[in-house]
């Protein structure tokens, strides 16, 4: 119900501010300051500005998207709800019509996938994007709605007054202060601001995953030929097992117009335990006999790395504080392959809560908790709750991805071979081969745990 409440409400604009006589020394005061012009921050700024608030959007990069990387496919239908027909304005790379999962072993792959021309019609299912293009488009939406965007501004502190957030401090070279009634922190996975202010203790080596990516340039025709796709269409391929060298982690391949984006990663604590880095995983996966031919002849265009919060529902920090809201990656709102769209919706809900607070001039945590309520009722937190036990399952059974992709490959290999033996004996032989990797009782226990997570 509440979810629909703001839609049915009459549009209500705040009266334009009368410009106060400016005193040179006093820092400029805004209705709201958003830290970080990523998908959650720019969405929050855009919807607050549309509601008539005076919004300042601060970004530390020279353009939005400069500070983060990784192949990305956005879930178009969910973004279409916020920004109708956004694909007409924003440069996307390819329409994803093929979704694959590959369980890899040392030299083989068991694959499952879905390809359909139906996914190529609007509203598209997924669109692959370059972060720079997508984030810049989104920030431009915020600016055209009236928000002020300042680039190259690194916020290093949140200003508090009697426990209530009243503004932010920007580090040198600007070395300045901005004041606001509401601050929305959308400063990404490694949210130092929330941590420094004592608001987030879930940024740990277990909850954060580190991914390295490489963009390999290839001509569009070569990409379409190798991945068996019609012109303009793309694929998102999840890679499980081999890429993460025995740990629970994932790799993925996303296709750009003229490049392949390949990445791999797992939790920072697993890297520390394993004694290698994400760059090593990336090299390993690029040499895999099923993957190497896909990349052959390509030229590396860019390398990079970024962290993603993968602690799941239980790693979400308190999101509402007096005068302050936390959104997007900083709020740990990442669910499997969904991140950008969850970030944008959390920014939208934060904007709605900020607007209600501004109308009643009440910036207390109680008033702003509308944000948490909206999130709770939305698909964002409901989906994350449904997946809540997945992170713990992966931690408790760190062998799952590797072992079961090994077993799937072994079973498939033995089935593919034809032995000079009777069918019944072959079935027994395969059964023994597979159960020699993991005893039947343990397989059943693992299956039971996985079912418990899926059932919620």
């Amino acid at each position: 119900m509440l979810n629909e409440w703001f839609k049915t409400k009459k549009p209500h604009k705040l009266p334009p501010r009368t410009q106060a006589a400016s005193t040179a020394a006093a820092p400029r005061k805004y209705d709201a300051i958003v830290v970080g012009a990523g998908p959650s921050g720019a969405s929050a700024a855009c919807f607050m500005a549309r509601d008539g608030l005076d919004v300042l959007l601060l970004e530390r990069g020279p353009f939005p998207g400069a500070k983060t990387c990784g192949g990305a496919a956005v879930i178009a239908e969910q973004i279409h709800e916020l920004f109708p027909n956004f694909w007409e304005e924003c440069r996307y790379e390819r329409i994803v019509t093929r979704l694959d999962y590959w369980w890899l072993n040392d030299d083989s792959a068991v694959t499952a996938g879905f390809t359909s021309g139906r996914l190529a019609a609007a509203p598209y299912n997924r669109l692959s994007v370059k972060r720079k293009n997508f984030y810049s488009w989104l920030a431009a939406k915020a600016v055209s709605a009236g928000a002020t965007l300042l680039l190259g501004h690194t916020v290093d502190d949140v200003l508090l007054d009697h426990g209530r957030t009243v503004g932010v401090h920007v580090s040198p070279p600007q070395n300045t202060t901005f004041l606001a009634d509401i601050v929305i922190l959308a400063d990404g996975a490694n949210s130092l601001l929330a941590e420094r202010a004592g608001l987030n203790s879930s940024v740990t080596a277990k909850n954060l995953s580190l991914y390295a990516k490489e963009t390999i340039a290839l001509p569009p025709e070569t990409i379409e030929e190798r991945f068996n796709l019609p012109p303009g269409q793309g694929a998102a391929i999840g890679l499980i097992g081999y890429p993460t060298a025995g740990f629970n982690g994932t790799g993925s391949i996303h296709l750009f117009r003229d490049g392949v984006n390949i990445n791999a990663g797992m939790s920072v604590s697993d890297f520390a335990a394993g004694g290698f880095g994400p760059g090593d995983l990336l090299e390993r996966i690029k040499k895999h006999p099923r993957i190497q031919p896909l990349l052959a002849g390509g030229v590396t265009a860019e390398y990079g790395a970024a962290m993603i919060p993968e602690g799941g529902y239980h790693a979400i920090p308190p999101l509402v504080h007096p005068g302050l809201l936390i959104a997007g990656d900083a709020a740990s709102l990442v669910n499997g392959t969904q991140g950008i769209n969850l970030a944008m919706w959390s920014g939208f809900y934060a904007a709605k809560a900020a607007f209600e607070a501004k109308k009643s001039r009440d910036f207390s945590a109680r008033k702003l908790s509308l944000y948490r309520t909206l999130l709770d009722e939305s698909f964002i937190l409901q989906n994350m709750r449904a997946n809540a036990k997945a992170a713990a399952l992966q931690r408790d059974r760190p062998y799952l991805f590797d072992l079961y992709s090994r077993m799937a490959n072994e079973a498939a290999y033995q089935m593919a071979r034809a032995y000079p033996m009777p069918m019944n004996a072959k079935r027994k032989f395969i059964w023994h081969k597979v159960t020699s990797l993991q005893p039947v009782g343990k397989i059943a226990a693992d299956l039971w745990q996985v079912l418990k997570v899926v059932k919620g």
């Binding site: 290093d156 130092l192 920072v268 994400p278 590396t300 970024a306």
Partner: protein
């Protein structure tokens, strides 16, 4: 392309010559540290050590990609990571 150094050379950086955003406040911690996770976990090879006991761990902060993993991976909590000043640091173009 396989070496980290070669791959890092492809990334655009706007280095800050006047201020270092990653510091090891106390090298004594590093001398005692048996794991030195930073040397391997960092995707950009920011941390370097010449394998001589007693020598300091170098911080080549100008090639940092700002992921922030070093701080979490350091068992001693000795790495002080903050973001570069406005306008400096890594610039990604390829998504």
């Amino acid at each position: 392309m396989t070496s980290t150094a070669a791959k890092v050379s492809l990334i655009e950086f706007r280095p800050d010559d006047d201020w270092q955003h990653i510091v090891i406040a106390d090298q004594e911690e590093c001398r005692r540290c048996p794991d030195k996770n930073c040397l391997r976990v960092c995707p950009a090879g920011v941390f370097a050590w010449d394998n001589h006991p007693g020598h300091p761990v170098l911080v080549r902060y100008k090639q940092c990609v700002e992921c922030g993993a070093c701080r979490l991976a350091c068992p001693q909590g000795a790495i002080e990571f903050s973001y570069p000043r406005g306008g400096y640091g890594v610039v990604f173009h390829q998504g």
